[in-house]
């Protein structure tokens, strides 16, 4: 990278709105949409797997196999169908979140104590009401722990999507930095991506606090949170091995 200084503040100032701001917004969109889609699929799928347990092993294997496919390969596989639209990134990233979200939803539901479920039945909850008012709320801390891992993983995986020109902060790193042997955009891209991950994780922690006041001060919640933080550190470099530690959390 020659004799250039590592950070050229004047470049940052000149390019703050575009491309930096544009890329950041793209990045946020490319990360959040898959997380939301992932949730929309994972919650019902997890509920079904917890209800009909014989389904779960095949679903678990299925989402893990998807997770093991290198993302770049999936992007290229989809390109002929979706072209250079955001869907080329959104579809694979949504599928990846399932590998984290589905097991966490299922584990959360498995954690509902049998005597609590029995009591809910005995009090006269209908099955749907029992699911919504008793089982899902109790599953929430574990599900949110999974959501945190999935969110951070997705945010860092979006950068890979830029390899095929789909936008996001990775684009900044690749086209403005790497190809032009210019370090400033690379550093800006990395810093913003990490900050975004921290911010989203922090918001999720806050959400968990608000949604699950009963876990406050309880030991179990603390353990779950620390497990999730360890997970978050794993990042995207080795998606296939990540499933191992996820399984460890599941037990």
């Amino acid at each position: 990278m020659g004799d250039q200084p590592l950070i050229r503040w004047d470049w940052i100032a000149r390019n703050w709105d575009d491309p930096v701001g544009t890329r950041l917004l793209e990045h946020i969109q490319l990360a959040l949409v898959p997380i939301l889609i992932g949730l929309l699929i994972a919650v019902p799928l997890g509920v079904v797997c917890a209800r009909w347990r014989w389904l779960y092993p095949s679903v678990f294997t299925g989402v893990n196999i998807l997770y093991a496919v290198p993302s770049i390969a999936l992007f290229f596989l989809l390109l002929p169908y979706t072209g250079f639209t955001q869907w080329t990134a959104i579809i694979p990233l949504s599928l990846y979140t399932l590998a984290i979200l589905v097991p966490n939803v299922v584990d959360g539901l498995y954690q509902v104590p049998q005597h609590v479920r029995q009591a809910a039945i005995a009090m006269g909850f209908s099955p749907l009401r029992r699911l919504i008012q008793v089982e899902l709320p109790i599953a929430l801390p574990v599900a949110i722990a999974g959501l945190r891992v999935a969110a951070v993983a997705t945010i860092s995986m979006v950068s890979v999507a830029s390899l095929v020109g789909l936008g996001g902060l990775g684009q900044l790193i690749l086209t403005d930095g790497f190809r032009r042997q210019f370090p400033t955009p690379i550093i800006v891209g990395i810093v913003l991506s990490v900050l975004l991950a921290f911010l989203v994780d922090g918001l999720l922690v806050l959400m968990q606090r608000l949604l699950t006041p009963w876990t406050r001060g309880s030991e179990r919640a603390a353990r779950r949170t620390s497990a999730a933080r360890r997970e978050a550190g794993a990042g995207t470099t080795a998606p296939a091995t990540d499933t191992g530690s996820r399984r460890a959390e599941a037990t």
Partner: protein
């Protein structure tokens, strides 16, 4: 009233949990199911609120076939309490208790007001309302469980070993509380337990199940203890059932003697004369208010200077007392066994000595009840 007619439950794996059960559970009374583990008590209980469906037979509640009722709706009219309380960890105490009122569509203010009323009824503090279950002790959680079951004022209450996971002291207080509540509320209670003492204490009638899900005997506690139908029931209720049975006879049946009670200002010489005349080796010394002070033996009296007052002699601790008017023969026997003099001290409600019951007197009272029917179906309970 709840009736079982020809009820059999065979689980899908072939286990016959309940076998051709016919039983009538009277309204407004407490019926206790006891029996060894796996004899179908829980299964029988859960068939009442349709958590388990019988394979064959008919169950009616208040004359109505329960199969004609929507299970969820039926359950809202039947309170249910289980061993681990089964509280919802994500709901506050007050909202746990208000569960069924919420399900019945009462407004939140009304449901919560009712829940607070129940907290008071079962002896919980108002400031515990906003806590979560994990912040309560096991005994308190169990109270919440009882309050939750009672919230919508159901006529029927099913209780599956509700007090077996708490320590004996808490268990006793929860049992006493239930007796007090039941005297006020007159619910149709079906109570499952392993503990025959608990069954005798709480039950108006007791159903003993035998392995294989058959009913061995259904009787009042008193008749069960007096006449077990066979060796299985006898073995299950324990070979000390004779002593247990004494709980059903009032200590009033005894005539405590007063000639062996002396004031502590009486002289030793005079006391010795009294002892010789009564033929008893021990005298009970009482103070000016007739409160018990201790036992004095004839030997001590003989060795003492006849002029000293008995109150200044070495007295033997009087141990336990029993209250003549309210205690049972069992309490009197207990007091005698624990007394160093082998004699029980009977007192009145204010703790003043009524008299002394010697072993011979106690023995003949016990002997006479052996043949008799108990005068009362309720165990004699004391406040002490």
């Amino acid at each position: 009233m709840i009736t079982f007619t020809g009820i059999t439950k065979r689980y899908p794996d072939g286990t016959i949990a309940v076998d051709d059960l016919d039983i009538e559970i009277p309204a407004g009374r407490t019926t206790v199911f006891v029996g060894p583990s796996g004899c179908g008590k829980t299964t029988s209980l859960r068939m009442i609120n349709r958590m388990v469906e019988p394979t064959t037979g008919l169950i009616t509640v208040e004359g109505q076939d329960i199969r004609d009722r929507d299970p969820a709706v039926l359950r809202r009219s039947i309170g249910y309490v289980i061993q681990q309380a089964g509280l919802f960890p994500h709901r506050t105490i007050v909202d746990n208790i208000a569960t069924v009122p919420f399900l019945l569509g009462w407004g939140k203010p009304r449901a919560r007001a009712r829940a607070r009323e129940l907290m008071e009824l079962v002896g919980l503090q108002p400031e515990q309302a906003k806590r979560y279950p994990h912040q309560l002790s096991g005994g308190q959680q169990q109270r919440v469980g009882v309050a939750r079951a009672l919230a919508a004022d159901p006529p029927v209450l099913l209780m599956d070993e509700p007090f077996s996971a708490v320590d004996p002291v808490v268990r006793t207080s929860l049992q006493d509380e239930l007796i007090r509540l039941q005297a006020e509320l007159h619910k149709t209670i079906v109570f499952v337990t392993h503990d025959i003492d608990e069954a005798v204490k709480l039950g108006d009638s007791i159903a003993v199940f035998r392995p294989g899900g058959k009913l061995a005997q259904l009787d009042t506690p008193e008749r069960l203890l007096a006449n077990p139908v066979d060796s299985f029931v006898e073995g299950f209720i324990g070979y000390d059932r004779g002593v247990r049975r004494l709980s059903f006879f009032p200590a009033r049946l005894l005539t405590p003697r007063t000639d062996t009670v002396v004031g502590d200002d009486v002289q030793a010489g005079r006391a010795r004369e009294l002892a010789l005349r009564s033929g008893e080796p021990w005298l009970l010394v009482v103070d000016g208010e007739r409160g018990p002070r201790g036992w004095v033996s004839t030997e001590t009296l003989g060795a003492a200077d006849p002029g000293t007052v008995v109150g200044s002699l070495d007295l033997v601790d009087y141990g336990h007392v029993f209250t003549v008017e309210t205690d049972s023969l069992r309490a009197a026997l207990d007091a005698a066994v624990l007394s160093p003099a082998g004699r029980a001290v009977g007192v009145d409600a204010d703790g003043r000595v009524v008299g002394v019951v010697a072993q011979s007197e106690l023995g003949s009272a016990i002997w006479s009840v052996g043949a008799e029917e108990a005068p009362t179906a309720e165990p004699v309970r004391s406040d002490g």
